[in-house]
């Protein structure tokens, strides 16, 4: 039987793993139990929204239902080959390899995933060391004290004719520095323990604010209905521990309330069902700026927009002010992203909406439509240049999506393997053999 005709069997298998009865699954996706039965016995073809709904209820990737685990493995092998840069890899025989040696294929696939995850960890740490002023200061303190101890100890050990006065002075310095080193090391460890080197921790207010927004999936029903005001919501959140993070969240939530008032949820639901994810049509319908429409789309709940939408905002210096990640599109934590992103291109073409299909390296299945615009911030003044901010919506598109081929873009130069890129501003740490 052809691979895609077994979709029903896979749904049945996954439903049983999930411990759901046919009737329960049918109820949750809004169809009859008898129809689910026909689907599961491969007597009805299934695709589109119903397939997505079933995958959502079963908490699996839709591709796993349509193509099966073997196809996912083959895709992972091809991605591993592309990531490795080994052109001699027989990618056209990945199917055969996965079929003959499924265990080894799984090992290879997991190793590749682990490399990707480690690369992201490297990027996070590298960013942190470079951009986190508190950590930089702390490391500087430790290294400077260690240097002083090393130099002083070497003088004491290697200088035979040291006068008593010098010897006493260096002993005193050693005592001072060893205490300082103990204190600064302790402070550094405490800081790292509390920081986001772990999955949950947050080191800086911006990360704390982003974690709060992510925990709410960017959507706040109590603000939509006016039940709460943004300042009270930020102030009462237990997830926001620092005043700076609360302040960042307050600003974001106030803007959220403004956008929600201009583009009410029910009306958004209506227009999205008519025109789809078309920010220009939405901006025209509500007479708002395109950047406001982009922001609003990124706050839609999953019952309005099933797709996980990402959003990035930067100022004219390129510093990232806001990030709402979407799976597969890597966003550096502290700015210095890829200058090829439409987000940055838009800065050189103010007020002109840009739409571009892009793909990042090593993620051949992750293709995104990015819609970006840079618009002036604040009221206009005579003889004063406007200050621009750029906003970019990131819409995931399926690997089989038709249309223009994606433009290759990076994450940040530090972890980008594209050595010949004209936009490169520094060598890749991966290339340096990190």
């Amino acid at each position: 039987m052809a691979r895609d005709s077994l979709t029903g069997s896979r749904i049945r298998e996954r439903r049983q793993i999930a411990g759901l009865r046919q009737a329960e699954l049918a109820r949750q996706v809004g169809i009859s139990a008898s129809y689910i039965n026909l689907i599961e016995h491969n007597r009805r073809r299934i695709a589109g929204k119903l397939l997505l709904d079933i995958a959502r209820v079963l908490k699996v990737d839709p591709n796993l239902l349509t193509e099966g685990a073997e196809a996912a493995l083959v895709a992972a092998l091809r991605e591993a080959a592309a990531d490795s840069g080994v052109v001699a890899a027989e990618t056209d025989r990945a199917d055969e390899f996965a079929g003959r040696f499924p265990g080894w294929a799984e090992v290879l696939s997991r190793q590749s995933q682990r490399i990707q995850s480690l690369e992201q960890a490297v990027e996070t740490l590298s960013d942190r060391f470079n951009r986190d002023p508190q950590l930089a200061e702390s490391l500087h303190e430790v290294l400077s004290t260690a240097t002083a101890i090393r130099s002083t100890a070497a003088i004491l050990a290697e200088t035979s004719d040291l006068t008593v006065e010098w010897r006493d002075r260096f002993h005193k310095n050693l005592d001072q520095d060893s205490r300082r080193l103990a204190d600064s090391s302790k402070a550094l460890v405490s800081y790292l323990d509390a920081s986001s080197l772990s999955e949950e921790g947050r080191a800086i207010p911006q990360e704390e604010a982003e974690a709060f927004l992510a925990a709410n999936q960017g959507h706040f029903p109590s603000l939509e209905t006016g039940e709460k005001d943004p300042d009270a919501l930020a102030a009462s959140s237990k997830e926001l521990s620092s005043p700076a993070a609360r302040q960042i969240v307050q600003v974001i939530l106030r803007r959220y309330v403004g956008d929600a008032a201009a583009m009410p949820l029910d009306e958004m639901r209506g227009i999205i069902s008519k025109v789809g994810l078309d920010p220009l049509a939405i901006a025209r319908r509500f007479d708002v700026t395109l950047s406001a429409a982009l922001r609003r789309l990124a706050t839609m709940p999953t019952d309005v927009v099933e797709t996980e939408i990402g959003l990035v905002v930067c100022d004219a210096s390129g510093s990232i002010l806001f990030r709402k990640p979407t799976a597969g599109f890597a966003l550096p934590r502290f700015g210095e992203s890829c200058p090829l992103w439409p987000l940055y291109v838009a800065l050189s073409r103010p007020v002109t909406p840009l739409r571009q299909r892009v793909a990042q390296p090593g993620r051949e299945h992750a293709v995104f439509d990015c819609i970006a615009v840079s618009e002036p911030v604040g009221p206009a003044s005579y003889n004063r240049d406007a200050v621009y901010r750029s906003t970019m919506l990131i819409l995931p598109v399926g690997p089989e999506a038709e249309g223009e081929p994606p433009v290759p873009v990076g994450v940040s130069c530090r972890i980008c393997p594209r050595t010949t890129c004209s936009a490169r501003r520094e060598p890749s740490i991966l290339g340096e053999g990190f």
Partner: protein, 126 residues
């Protein structure tokens, strides 16, 4: 006449150790810990060698170095930079600013003395 080094570093015990080492090597050592008037200190003292920490109170060592290289009198002054930040981007920035030798903390006394001797030898040949 003793050769003259100016050490611009805000870590007092590093200053003490380097001053001791260089004095024993026959150098006259002046020390300065504030970045804000370090360029003036170099102009006044006219050292044969400058040892510079890039992270100083008042002003960054990189800015100090850029200002010095813009002055014809100091465009060839040997400058040894001692830094806790040793990533390739930091080295690259220091080289762009005109550093003669870049050394990351924690360094050994031997490494500092070797670097100082090398820089003096190079300056002598220039």
């Amino acid at each position: 006449m003793n050769r003259h080094v100016l050490l611009v570093e805000d870590e007092p015990n590093i200053v003490e150790a380097i001053r001791f080492l260089l004095t024993r090597e026959g150098w006259q050592v002046d020390c300065h810990s504030d970045g804000s008037d370090a360029v003036e200190a170099v102009q006044n003292l006219k050292p044969d060698l400058l040892i510079l920490d890039p992270m100083l109170p008042g002003r960054s060592g990189l800015d100090i170095l850029r200002d010095l290289r813009a002055l014809s009198e100091f465009e060839n002054l040997p400058v040894l930079m001692l830094t806790a930040r040793g990533q390739s981007r930091d080295r690259d920035m220091a080289e762009r600013a005109g550093v003669s030798r870049f050394m990351t903390k924690p360094f050994s006394n031997v490494e500092v003395l070797t670097a100082v001797r090398d820089l003096v030898a190079l300056a002598g040949r220039a």
